[in-house]
């Protein structure tokens, strides 16, 4: 019920406030603050950084993310099924097996196609 989630929102907000309290208030009062350009450089093992960190970057694992989305959607369907499955019985089970089976075909395809390889 929505009222239950008032607590969730409240916890989130208080968690954030706790961080703000610690970093921006409590610590700010007592910590030193003497920045200089050297201190504020980006760390790169003691050398001047070569270029910036935000570059066009080959993320090898974007295929994992693609496959993940599909499986995440599937698992979402599995939760309501898992709850009611004992009352609905065999039919629900078979239905879900078909559902999972079709997606497992997809997994097998992804596997065979090398989408699960680190390429």
């Amino acid at each position: 019920m929505a009222a239950d989630y008032a607590y969730v929102g409240f916890f989130l907000v208080v968690g954030v406030l706790f961080v703000i309290l610690n970093i921006e208030i409590l610590s700010r009062i007592i910590r030193p603050h003497n920045p200089n350009p050297q201190k504020l450089t980006t760390y790169e093992c003691g050398e001047e950084p070569i270029g910036i960190g935000w570059i066009r970057f080959h993320v090898r694992y974007y295929l994992y993310a693609l496959v993940y989305i599909v499986f995440a959607v599937e698992t979402v369907f599995l939760f309501p099924w898992a709850i009611v499955f004992r009352e609905l019985g065999l039919f629900a089970f078979l239905e879900m097996m078909v559902f999972i089976g079709i997606l497992l075909v997809g997994l097998a395809y992804a596997w065979k196609k090398g989408a699960l390889e680190w390429a």
Partner: protein, 395 residues
Amino acid sequence: MMIFATLVERFYAALAAWGIPWIVPTLVVMVIVVSVVLAYISVAAMFMIWWERKISAHIQVRYGPMRVGGWHGWAQSIADGIKLLLKEDLIPTGADKVVFVLAPMVVFGATVAAYVTIPWAPGLIVRDLNIGILYMVSISSLVVVGIIMAGWSSNNKYATLGALRSAAQAVSYEVPLVLSLLGPVMIAGTMSMGKLVEAQSGRWFGVLPGWFVFPQIVAFLTYFTCALAECNRLPFDIPEAESELVAGFHVEYSGMRFAMFFLAEYANMFVVSAIATTLFLGGWHGPWIPLPGLPREVAHGLFGLVWFQVKCYFLIFVMMWLRWTLARLRVDQLMGFAWKVLLPISFANLIVTGLVLILGKHALLYVGGIAILLLVAILLAARPAARTVRVGERT
């Protein structure tokens, strides 16, 4: 403990009698609850940090902190906390300041929010959300987002690599993690954390406690492995991998900002252990006796509280033990493990669990569980031996 609910109700009634609007007692209760939880998180995290140092030390034939505070350096974490509080706060000039500042808030806020639905003891749960376990999973995906924000905003190459690894790890381990949680949900027929614990009150064969770990041993092991990845603990700590990426996503964080990540990491360890305890280890169930002078309910609650903590900290101990025993995996191996080993296993577990439940015999759950375990063991044993590389071959 029902006694809390009674207290809260009396408090409401008393204030209502005074003609104070309902919002006031509600807020007061909320503030008290959140303060208790935050205090618990802070103290528990500090304890865990000290405890981990002692455990690692004793695994490594040394003592660990011995000075601060006297007995076995118990105040070491407090001293560390004060030190971090006094550290200068540096935000690199190249960083994206807004995101940089937001990242620890997201991580810590999400971690705190996960404590909403941890069932501490019979009846003692902040809110028993009806989608409890799904809520836990989704709120922890926010933590990952916070880590990515931290890594990206630093404009540091090590941090960027760490953030991307964290993202890849999250997408790989989320699916087997969620699938492994489905087994208990299927048996209990609910997602609420409180009801999941209550569903484990019986006994298997009249001997073993009715914990879901027995029929769902495969799911438990899968979950625990994924939980290690979720918390960035060795052998899955590649997002921070100190010997490769120095400190990974939080390289540029100093002082209190770093401390928040640190705190959240340990708080998160407790969260994943609490999930495992709730779903597999029977939550607060455990032997108890009525204490003289206390109502039965209170005594049960107290024992439940203790049992829950004992189980959680046992799992945390195992996590620490693993960390100080194993080496770190490489990122590609880690992904391969998640997709090619854990995912098929958790699917197999799901199907077998469903089948056995349909056949309607609880006893069969064991047979099923053992069958999967055997299957997995055979699969692992039949796995081709470690690849030998011929001379001259490049990988």
